[in-house]
């Protein structure tokens, strides 16, 4: 099998805040192959956007990539190693900021953000912004760049591209702006496009247009996509392979059909069960209890054990190994849950949490209760960072 286009290994990004260290991305592994559309899915706070930004080294203060390796086409975008004296340092192979800017961003990897209005400068004409971007990254002169820009606009389905070339961003609708950004991303024919919730701000019918456009363009240009989203519907619609994130970790990775129909991780399963369906009536929803704990002080053992309906005592103690659990003749399917390990899950007692149904049901029990400011509920072993 050929080398993947993008490999992320043990990536860790942390935010150093007054309250403590937020472990936003905590040892994430995944890959994207040439021409593949890979989903990175999770709820807000799962760390999916930070992971995407870390690949491009766009994490801002107080955040910092503290560990891990990101390899893109043989280049080390991120490569942090432990020195002999125990400090984490960037290796010599890691690209400099200048190399990142000149060789990677825009040319090899492009990024499309959620809010197209924020990504376009409101005081410059759309065409001029696109042209400048092409000039910079493809080294062509102004008139050539303009021709490419107009072609790109037509390519992404902007009507009257010559006329719209001279419009300002606010004269475009949300869907049209997102098309412009996709045009900008595609303009330099990058090999990978990172799309960070690109359709979240759009209406369903417009989202449909954009998804169609992306599938179309992907076939034509054979660009690989890393599609960051919270929407399982979008994932099911366009992704080839999916990584599910929970609280800074990738907890399951599988081909899209396996993920939905041969779900291995209890979190993924619970997430799918908690969603209302557009295509059929569901009598009652089965929500995941509680909320995602904070990434400053993640739960011990398996991070999902506080909300997991299948949690047992062992889940508190053992941090599950992220491993491939597929049979030899199947597509790889990685999961991190101790159900698939031999660490005594079967013999362990069910954990007493509301999520496991050990408490009586009812509204009052659904409260995600608080943090120890309640006099009675001061947790004993809260770890301080």
């Amino acid at each position: 099998m050929s080398e993947p286009l993008l490999t992320v290994e043990n990536l860790k990004t942390q935010f150093f805040t007054e309250e403590g260290t937020v472990r936003a991305v905590d040892g994430v592994n995944f890959e994207v192959n040439e021409g593949e559309l890979v989903g990175l899915v999770g709820e807000s706070g799962a760390g999916k956007s930070v992971a995407a930004q870390s690949i491009m080294r766009l994490v801002e203060e107080p955040g910092r990539i503290v560990d891990g390796t990101v390899t893109f086409d043989g280049k080390k975008l991120v490569d942090i190693e432990e020195t002999p004296d125990g400090r984490m340092e960037e290796s010599d192979e890691m690209l400099s900021n200048r190399e990142m800017r000149e060789q990677v961003r825009g040319r090899e990897i492009a990024i499309v953000f959620q809010d197209p209005m924020e990504s376009l400068n409101p005081v410059f004409k759309v065409g001029a912004q696109l042209r400048e971007f092409i000039e910079l990254n493809r080294g062509v002169n102004e008139s050539e760049a303009k021709t490419i820009a107009v072609d790109m606009l037509r390519e992404v389905g902007i009507p009257e591209p010559e006329a719209r070339y001279d419009d300002y961003p606010h004269e475009f609708s949300g869907g049209m702006r997102q098309r412009v950004l996709i045009a900008m991303a595609l303009a330099c024919e990058p090999r990978l496009i990172i799309a960070d919730e690109p359709t979240t701000a759009l209406d369903v019918t417009v989202e449909g247009q954009i998804l169609d456009l992306v599938s179309d363009l992907q076939e034509r240009y054979d660009t690989a996509f890393l599609w960051v989203t919270h929407d399982m519907g979008v994932v099911a619609e366009i992704c080839d392979r999916v990584n599910v994130m929970y609280l800074g970790e990738v907890i399951e990775e599988a081909e899209v059909d396996d993920l939905f129909h041969d779900t291995k991780h209890p979190y993924t399963e619970a997430l799918l069960r908690s969603m209302p369906r557009p295509d059929r009536s569901v009598e009652s929803l089965d929500p995941i209890k509680g909320v995602m704990p904070e990434a400053i002080n993640p739960p011990s053992g398996c991070r999902f054990h506080t909300r997991c309906p299948e949690a047992r005592e062992a889940c508190k103690e053992f941090h599950p190994e992220y491993q491939d659990v597929s049979d030899a003749d199947e597509a790889p399917h990685a999961v991190s849950c101790i159900k698939y390990e031999r660490v005594g899950y079967e013999d362990s007692d069910p954990l007493q949490t509301e999520a496991t149904g050990a408490f009586a049901g009812g509204l009052a029990d659904m409260r995600g209760d608080d943090d120890g400011r309640d006099p009675a509920g001061v947790p004993g072993g809260e770890a301080d960072e």
């Binding site: 099911a236 619609e237 939905f260 009536s281």
Partner: protein, 434 residues
């Protein structure tokens, strides 16, 4: 299969509300002027027609879902119903009173029975007030439960799934889901009959969304509430609603019982909307029929049916009798010219692209050929104008406003569809053949 009923298919007659109707909206219209200030009178700018002639009833104890894309006027409709903005025209009967005509203090009193829950749990709670006073505020405003307000607030907090001890906390100490619960408690504090929920869960994560939706349903059962539930997410609407109304560009396009609407949509817009939702199942058929173009401006909305400029099933004018494939080709050509989505370097190539089976015969063919010539000569605007005036503006979709009642396939509730495909004299083609 349809009974024409030109005059407001859903109104139950002026002011007349039968017993199980709690709210009756009749011909509600809201236009916003584009500017205000001292000098605005000097400029006669056309208004933004946000909501136009909307009529429907809400039955006691039901959840009526109201769905549409952003800018379709659903939030404005909700605010107009509650008189948070004054309607331009029309009436809103709530238990006999016309809210649209109530004045100051009467209106304020009536608001006790109608409450609202907002989309953004962050901004709908005053950041400088503690949870307790927030929940108590409506009681105070109406002079209710004097002396037992705190007790009642704590009780309500417990009812919506929060800890009564949270009484003394500030909103920022809660997550989005919890804040939406505080909103619920506030709305419930004056024991209302009717709650307008404006996208109450769209700012929440999926797993939290389900928690809040479940709580809302439980509260509805316990207190006998009626919800007008506004959302853009069709999955949520399908889950929570008993009946669903669909809006497009300020007008109601379809209203039916939930199963009926989702399984047998009778308006092309509803169909397109349903087809474009991504289904969280990779094995579901990806038969996405995507709408072209953008929603037109509400300042000058299209005449007749407002959806006609994007409708995949626009009816051909009476004077033509093209077969459906030819008509489809003509329609698509006309829109493509209007939007200039192609390059016209070569007339033959354009013709081959749009009319692989040849241009239509008769007058239609003459107009199309003429338009092809003009496009080839780079006279786009003339071509577009001629095509639109011949084919689009002459259609019944442009000349008459549709309003029909359709026989439901599932259940026996009313099914309203504002689409001329359902007029008597048109043989309604079998659905989903487009």
């Amino acid at each position: 299969m349809s009974e024409a009923d030109g005059t407001g298919a859903l109104g139950t007659g002026a002011g007349g509300t039968d017993d199980d109707t709690i709210l009756s909206v009749q011909g509600l219209t809201k236009h916003f002027s584009q500017s205000d200030g001292m000098l605005s009178a000097l400029f006669d700018e056309p208004p933004v027609r946000a909501v136009e002639d909307v009529s429907f009833d809400v039955k006691r104890g039901e959840t009526l879902g109201l769905v549409g894309e952003s800018g379709c006027g659903k939030s404005t409709l909700a605010r107009t119903i509650l008189r948070l903005v004054d309607p331009t025209d029309g009436a809103v009967y709530f238990e006999g009173d016309n809210l649209a005509e109530l004045s100051g203090s009467n209106l304020r009193e009536r608001r006790r029975d109608l409450q609202m829950i907002f989309q953004d749990p962050q901004s709908s709670l005053d950041p400088r007030m503690k949870v307790g006073p927030i929940v108590e505020e409506p009681m105070k405003a109406h002079g209710l439960y004097k002396g037992e307000r705190e007790e009642r607030a704590r009780e309500l907090l417990e009812k919506v799934g929060l800890d009564p001890h949270h009484y003394n906390r500030y909103p920022h100490q809660f997550s989005g889901g919890q804040r939406q619960r505080i909103n619920l408690a506030r709305a419930l504090s004056v024991n209302p009959d009717f709650i307008v929920c404006d996208e109450p869960v769209s700012a929440l994560d999926v797993s939290i969304q389900a928690q809040v939706l479940n709580t809302m349903q439980e509260l509805q059962d316990e207190f006998g509430l009626t919800y007008l539930f506004i959302a853009h997410d069709l999955s949520v609407i399908r889950h929570i609603s008993d009946r669903v109304a669909v809006m497009y560009l300020g007008k109601l396009v379809e209203l039916a019982e939930t199963e009926e609407l989702f399984e047998h949509p009778e308006h092309p817009y509803t169909k397109a909307l349903l087809d474009s939702i991504p289904v969280p199942d990779p094995r579901s058929e990806g038969a996405r029929s995507v709408l072209e173009g953008d929603v037109p401006s509400p300042i000058e909305p299209p005449s007749g049916c407002r959806f006609r400029t994007r409708c995949p099933r626009l009816i051909q004018p009476d004077e033509f009798s093209m077969d459906s494939d030819t008509w489809k080709a003509v329609r698509e050509f006309a829109r493509a010219v209007d939007r200039r989505t192609f390059e016209a370097d070569d007339r033959a190539a354009v013709r081959a692209e749009f009319f692989p089976d040849g241009t239509p015969s008769g007058r239609a063919g003459t107009v199309v050929d003429d338009a092809l010539d003009r496009v080839a000569d780079d006279e786009w605007e003339d071509a577009a104008e001629q095509l639109i005036s011949t084919f689009a503006d002459a259609s019944i979709c442009a000349t008459e406003e549709p309003s029909y009642s359709v026989d439901p396939t599932i259940g026996d509730g009313e099914h309203f569809a504002a689409c001329h495909l359902h007029r008597d004299d048109v043989e309604a083609p079998a659905p989903a053949d487009d």
